[in-house]
């Protein structure tokens, strides 16, 4: 399968002299993939996503979008192909949900252009797909955590890009919303063939929706491959310093991970 986005042995540090937060990582995202980037807090997941989206440039190595180095692609063009859902969205001013979603059309509009009927229709479609159509005129500030996250995902969908990078999409959500987002992401991957990479520290989320996993610790990849191969008790122990029972439900294909005790 074709590699859509490929981080080729990338390293990254935020400032000269600072430690490497991403250290020689190679990740290949094939078209249509649903990949999880799994690791404890501070393992470099968010930084890796920033490299993959091109908002940060690797200190060493390169990221390829299709055949082209991502740092040679303009931000505008990159944004038409790669959308990002950040961990948290904190607005400085009050915007309605539809205004937030319409901002996803930015890379498709000229400097002085205003969203036309097509853009509005795309935004409304995206809201329908994420079950947020009824929230369109509500103030984003007043939405619940799960609603906000779905609106931000709708904005990313409205961007019309084939790749969606999600940074801890369920981190601040309760169980019900976690399930909702997980279901939504799986559906978007199936129905819209959106290629996704999801960073998370949530083993169960990764196990339940991702078809492949990259495990990161201290900026390095410690295991990568199909979920069932990677998600072993041994790898979980190396990842979190935690002893865990890993169960695979043969009927549903779900993987359940139960932490038993912390090592060290």
């Amino acid at each position: 399968m074709l590699d859509l986005l490929w981080a080729d042995n990338v390293s990254f540090r935020y400032a000269a002299g600072a430690p490497l937060v991403v250290d020689g990582v190679t990740v290949r995202l094939a078209s249509g993939a649903l990949a999880g980037i799994l690791g404890p807090n501070g393992s470099g997941k968010t930084s890796l996503l920033r490299l993959l989206s091109g908002t940060h440039t690797p200190t060493a190595g390169r990221v390829l979008l299709g055949q082209r180095p991502l740092d040679q692609v303009s931000r505008r063009e990159a944004a038409r192909q790669i959308a990002v859902v950040p961990q948290e969205t904190e607005l400085a001013f009050e915007y309605s949900a539809i205004e937030i979603v319409l901002m996803g059309r930015h890379p498709h509009l000229g400097v002085f252009a205003v969203e036309g009927p097509d853009d509005v229709r795309i935004a409304e479609d995206a809201m329908a797909a994420t079950g947020t159509a009824h929230l369109a005129s509500r103030s984003f500030h007043q939405l619940s955590g799960g609603e906000k996250q779905r609106v931000v995902i709708a904005a990313a969908l409205a961007q019309g890009s084939g790749v969606l990078l999600l940074d801890e999409p369920t981190a601040s959500l309760d169980l019900g919303y976690q399930l909702e987002i997980a279901t939504l992401l799986t559906r978007l991957n199936h129905e819209r063939q959106v290629t996704m990479a999801i960073s998370t520290h949530d083993l169960n989320l990764a196990a339940s929706i991702c078809r492949e996993l990259v495990m990161m610790r201290d900026g390095k990849v410690i295991a990568a491959g199909p979920t069932a191969d990677v998600l072993t008790p041994d790898n979980v122990r190396r990842l979190y310093d935690v002893e865990a029972d890993v169960h695979i439900n043969e009927a549903s294909g779900h993987v359940a991970v139960v932490p038993v005790r912390r090592l060290r």
């Binding site: 989206s53 950040p86 400085a92 009050e94 915007y95 901002m103």
Partner: protein, 333 residues
């Protein structure tokens, strides 16, 4: 939902209001004049007292007020989005303190120079604003790649305090009459003598507004967050630089024309947001227009409320704007 139509209608209403205020304001004053007679070309200029009062005595002042008000309000909008901070003003980043120090030095050192008909005080104040802008920018980019808005904010606030201390120091050692003259300048005043100072400030303001015109969608995205903006295709550092320099340049030009008139840059954007929401495609032009009409009205009040005594316009903006804003805030919630 037609977005373009909404923008045009809302901004058009603000434009009509501003145009009406600007036409009406010059007719008000100690001598009543008629607009019809002022614009009547059949009466010779020498005989047309109404036209003389309108065009020579009052219109420059109204235009200066409109230019300064529009600039401060628009610069406030841009800086609030850039800093992601609704409490930012055009003066937060040290521009006005630099300008005031420049003006103060020009007054106390009795500098008498001019350029293209512009006198030493506005020139020195514009110079001071440029120095302050350069200093704040140098500090903000010194630390890491790109522009740190946190450092920008801290450097601006610190520089404000530093320049204010220098102003007090200069004021302390200056003689009484000079110090008073400088203090009066700092209270703001739009009593410009003729059109020359307006024309001198205009290129900088136009350059800044040209830049602002390209930025509203970018400002929306910046106020959602720099990461989000970058992911939606905004060249964040370039956009931040453009926003900072254009807003600072415009503020420097406005302050050199009217003095550091406070309150407009924060109150007008908030008022407009209360009325029309946060989309910068509406907020930015509507704030510029409302800033213009608001300052012209405040200046009118400054002229007539205690006539023949004039109140400094900087005092009036806060006296009128403050309670009005609070009323709107309470009424809305």
């Amino acid at each position: 939902m037609n977005i373009r139509r909404r923008i045009v209608i809302v901004v058009g209403m603000f434009a009509l209001f501003t145009a009406a205020v600007m036409l009406w304001a010059p007719t008000v004053g100690s001598t009543a004049i008629s607009l019809t007679r002022a614009f009547d070309r059949s009466i010779p200029w020498d005989a047309n007292v109404d036209a003389q009062i309108f065009f020579v005595a009052r219109l420059p002042r109204v235009l200066a007020g409109a230019l300064v008000g529009a600039t401060l309000a628009a610069a406030g909008v841009v800086l609030q989005a850039l800093l992601r901070n609704p409490l930012a003003t055009p003066f937060t980043l040290g521009v006005s303190a630099g300008a005031s120090l420049g003006a103060m030095l020009a007054v106390t050192m009795r500098l008498e120079f001019g350029l293209l008909g512009v006198t030493s005080i506005p020139l020195a104040s514009f110079g001071g604003s440029i120095v302050a802008t350069a200093l704040v920018y140098a500090l903000a980019v010194s630390q890491r790649r790109g522009l740190s808005t946190n450092v920008l904010l801290l450097a601006g606030v610190t520089l404000n305090a530093f320049f204010s201390a220098l102003i007090l120091f200069v004021q302390y050692i200056a003689d009484f009459a000079e110090a008073l003259r400088a203090i009066r300048w700092m209270m703001g005043g739009l009593d410009v003598a003729g059109y020359t100072p307006i024309v001198a400030a205009l290129p900088f303001v136009l350059l800044a507004f040209g830049t602002f015109a390209m930025m509203p969608r970018t400002l929306n995205l910046l106020s959602v967050g720099t990461d989000a903006a970058a992911a939606r295709g905004v060249e964040v550092t370039t956009a931040q630089r453009l926003a900072f320099f254009s807003a600072s340049l415009a503020t420097g030009a406005a302050v050199s024309l009217g003095g550091p008139i406070g309150f407009i840059g924060i109150i007008v954007p908030h008022l407009v947001r209360l009325l029309v929401g946060s989309d910068h495609r509406v907020v930015l032009p509507a704030s510029a227009l409302f800033g213009a009409s608001f300052l012209v009205l405040c200046d009118l009040a400054a002229r007539i409320v205690m006539a023949p005594l004039e109140i400094p316009v900087g005092v009036v903006t806060a006296l009128i704007g403050g309670p009005f804003f609070l009323w709107l805030l309470v009424k809305r919630s």
